[in-house]
Amino acid sequence: MSSAPAVLERFFVYNPRFGPKEDNEEQKILYHYPRTASLDEQMSHVGLSEAMTRFTETFTSDYPCESLHTKHSRYTYLQPEEGYWMVMMMRNPRVSSTSGDGKLVVVSREDELSDPVLRGVIEELYGAFRLFNGDMERIVQTSSVETLRRRLDLFYSNMLRLYEARSFSLVDTFAGVRFFPVDRTTYLSIQSFCNLLLETFPWISNLTFMYETAVIYSALDQKTLRTLFQFLRRASNPKGSLCAVTSPILVDHGDDSQDTNALSPFASLHLQSEGSFFAYGPAAGSESTTLPSIHIEDKVYDLVIYEQDGVRVAFTVDPRHWDGESHADLQRVAAFAEPEVKALQRLLVHLRPKADSGAKDSGFKFFYFNQCNLALKDTLSDKGVPRSVMRDVESLYERIHSMKEDVRELTVHTASDPWVVARKANGRELYVVLDRKYGSALEVDDEINRLTRELFSNVFMQ
């Protein structure tokens, strides 16, 4: 008996507007993964999507088509901009076994994948494209459909590599931002460093200060912060560093060439000490800087990320500022920041979440999400939680969000599995897995109440 995990099998973007007639129908396809799919295959999938989305529209124009469940696959639909459709097709996990008479029996596990999780993933896929390229419609308006096609190709051909099905989880659905809890003094020190940085280098904007993949301070608007955070999370290696991970950001030079050298992604420019560098810096030695652009509201900025010993400072720069001086400017920033960051890092290292590891010992793992400030606390993604338990957590999320009822709590305990508790109130959601055997529902209830009091009274959140 063997099993095959879920796989992201297909991802495509189309807009019927660009291929309205029978004879130029293929024009509506803006991007398709895998590239190797024949045009016929691509068109038939686009056709199915168009039929599905139009079908649901017959009954409701208020709610767009979200997902299609079939025996072997799961399709997730998103219309992020008027007329532009994104479709992600996952192949369900499969189990094969040999039946009594020697035949191979393959069974698709139709209920393994979770729609809310996939929805989170496809929204992230769009969000990341938009962050680094701007609106699709804008690209078409200011440039051309061809440019859009090229940008999509450039972006997703690399981006999709980062999206392995086994990494999908409810965390993607919350699309929250992990905040690093600090005490008031440390927070003020960090804030004063940021202010100083801005005073010294007034051309810096949208400053964000992070430590160990969690945010402490940010001047970014919530939406952009969330998208950037998600992207950095996905683009970081397990240790949380951007270094030595293939980047999806390639620069579009306006022609067909892809300048892979100029942006050997996350190539780092090492500065004074070994520990500090700019991600997206120039390849070692050269003078030219190719920084990725990000789009915030309708403006385009250059994105600069400075990393040192687990601290990550990100900021934006109006591209008109550089005037060929970027290398020198960034060197000065690094020179200024290095000692300050070193001092802050020494403070932060002591504040590494002990409260959570305490929770780990006491047998809890949880997700906590606050819709108002997008704060996400997550100890559930740590290793050691079996997939089946995560699936239970996802089921609770699905059930709570699909019923019209305002479900405040949904708790399930099956035989010898852990208790799984979901609570929702006032825009906050909490999902807890108690991995110790609790005797009774009352013990569980007490423990959850205690957990809530203990953990969430101490968290310093913006």
Binding site: A51, T60, A415, A441
Partner: protein, 455 residues
């Protein structure tokens, strides 16, 4: 041992002539929407659409609207199914916000539900599967081969006159827990009385009667079966629906061919129906198409026997009441008013117990809302992972909303769904659940048929 039902269907005119045009209120309701089509804005507002079509896209049934003018829409449904099967795949369902579009394919027959209700996908599927069984119960499995040979064949002619049964089935599946719980409820009788009734059925049984069933509405009074044959719940529910769909059964004894899909989907059995009282019906299932008179005689004998022993009166009185009301439960469990309702399913007996609805579930809307919450919790407990388990695992579920708290306990022997007020403390809920279980243990003999008599 009886041979299975005759493999040759009787002249198909027969079913039609036995089901004259007495529509029940439920089925009749849909008549007023019969002229709608996709252009009509009111058409989209219906909470649950049901469509049945052939693999060639030919309309067979639409709950709302006129099938003919909906023909293009049916064509679209057929295209969607083919699109997916062209990819060597099978379509299951589509989600758009609160809308669920569920597809069930059975050979050349496609069943589609478009629902904005809170019913879970699993239950919408179940309803579509029942509709398929309903069609088979009228036409046998032959309907598949008819359509396979000639996909454009219009089977509506063959189904003519059965809209009432179909409509009633849809109505009843949304309000009667028997369907999603996959078991039936019983009329409450003292165990001794039940035994007496069973004996009466046994002694008066006509040799041709395979199953002898006494019912009231969808509730079982008693059932006599062959030693080696069980009556599948699905077959029973389809027959009960048939009997309850048309008032003609009440006025005179009837004898109709019916296919019981689980028993034998290739042929017909015959069903003798006779009302012994206003609310009590005798249903005799036989494989012999010429058994009418013999069965009728056994019915006379049964009535005589029951009347003489005063049993008929007991049965009719018992059938007129709900098996249990909340006042009795309150008295027995001292719940202090916190318990509002419950469902109890006994796996061994294959039956369930539920009290009549009481406050605050007085209005139909509230009852339907609670009903759909029950369905969702059932779907959670019977999710695919646990459905295939050979032994039902022990499970506890707590569900809490501003409207109520519900505790679900499942085990290999029973399921209990208990509904409490939203402010009820957890400890109290658990205590009351235990009291319900203890009380049921004492009382269940009268509320369940633990062993059906056999012949």
């Amino acid at each position: 041992v009886d041979e299975p039902g005759s493999s040759e269907p009787p002249a198909l005119a027969a079913p039609i002539s036995k089901f004259p045009e007495h529509f029940t209120r439920a089925a009749h309701k849909h008549q007023k929407y019969a002229s709608e089509d996709t252009e009509d804005p009111k058409w989209k507002l219906h909470k649950k659409h049901i469509f049945i079509l052939s693999s060639a896209g030919k309309p067979i049934y639409s709950r709302y609207g006129d099938e003919q003018s909906l023909a293009p829409f049916f064509g679209l449904l057929q295209a969607l199914v083919s699109f997916v099967s062209d990819q060597k795949d099978s379509i299951r369902h589509v989600i758009a916000g609160p809308f669920k579009f569920v597809f069930v394919v059975r050979g050349p027959l496609y069943f589609v539900a478009v629902s904005q209700t809170d019913e879970p996908v699993a239950h919408l599927r179940l309803q579509l599967v029942y509709l398929h069984s309903q069609i088979v119960s009228i036409l046998t499995h032959k309907v598949h081969s008819i359509l396979a040979k000639q996909s454009s064949f219009d089977i509506r002619g063959l189904l003519g006159g059965t809209e009432a049964t179909m409509g009633n089935l849809l109505h009843v599946m949304s309000t009667n827990a028997s369907f999603f719980l996959e078991c039936v409820r019983c009329v409450r009788l003292a165990p001794e009385t039940r035994v007496e009734v069973g004996r009466a059925l046994q002694t008066t049984r006509a040799p041709e009667a395979m199953f002898s069933i006494l019912v009231s509405g969808f509730r079982l009074i008693h059932i006599l079966r062959p030693r080696r044959q069980q009556l599948h719940t699905e077959d029973l529910l389809l027959v009960l629906n048939l009997v309850n769909s048309s008032s003609s059964f009440r006025t005179s004894d009837s004898f109709a061919p019916v296919c019981m899909p689980r028993f034998n989907d290739r042929g017909y059995v015959h069903v003798y129906v006779s009302f012994l009282a206003d609310n009590v019906a005798l249903i005799l299932v036989t494989t012999k198409a010429d058994a009418f008179h013999s069965l009728q005689q056994s019915r006379e004998a049964l009535v005589t026997d029951l009347t003489n022993r005063g049993l008929l009166h007991q049965i009719t009185t018992a059938a007129a009441q709900p098996p249990v009301d909340m006042a009795e439960v309150e008295r027995s469990t001292h719940a202090n008013g916190v318990l509002r309702h419950f469902l109890y399913k006994a796996h061994g007996a294959g039956q369930f117990i539920a009290p009549a609805y009481g406050p605050p579930y007085v209005r139909r809307k509230e009852q339907k809302r609670l009903f759909q919450v029950y369905q969702n919790l059932y779907a959670m407990a019977y999710s695919p992972r646990y459905r295939s388990a050979s032994v039902r695992p022990h499970q506890i579920v707590f569900h809490s909303t501003p409207s109520e708290n519900i505790v679900v306990v499942t085990s290999p022997t029973f399921d209990l769904y208990a509904v409490f007020g939203p402010l009820t403390q957890r400890q109290h809920c658990i205590d009351v659940c235990n009291r319900i279980l203890r009380w049921l243990k004492r009382e269940e003999q009268s509320m369940l048929i633990s062993s059906a008599p056999v012949w």
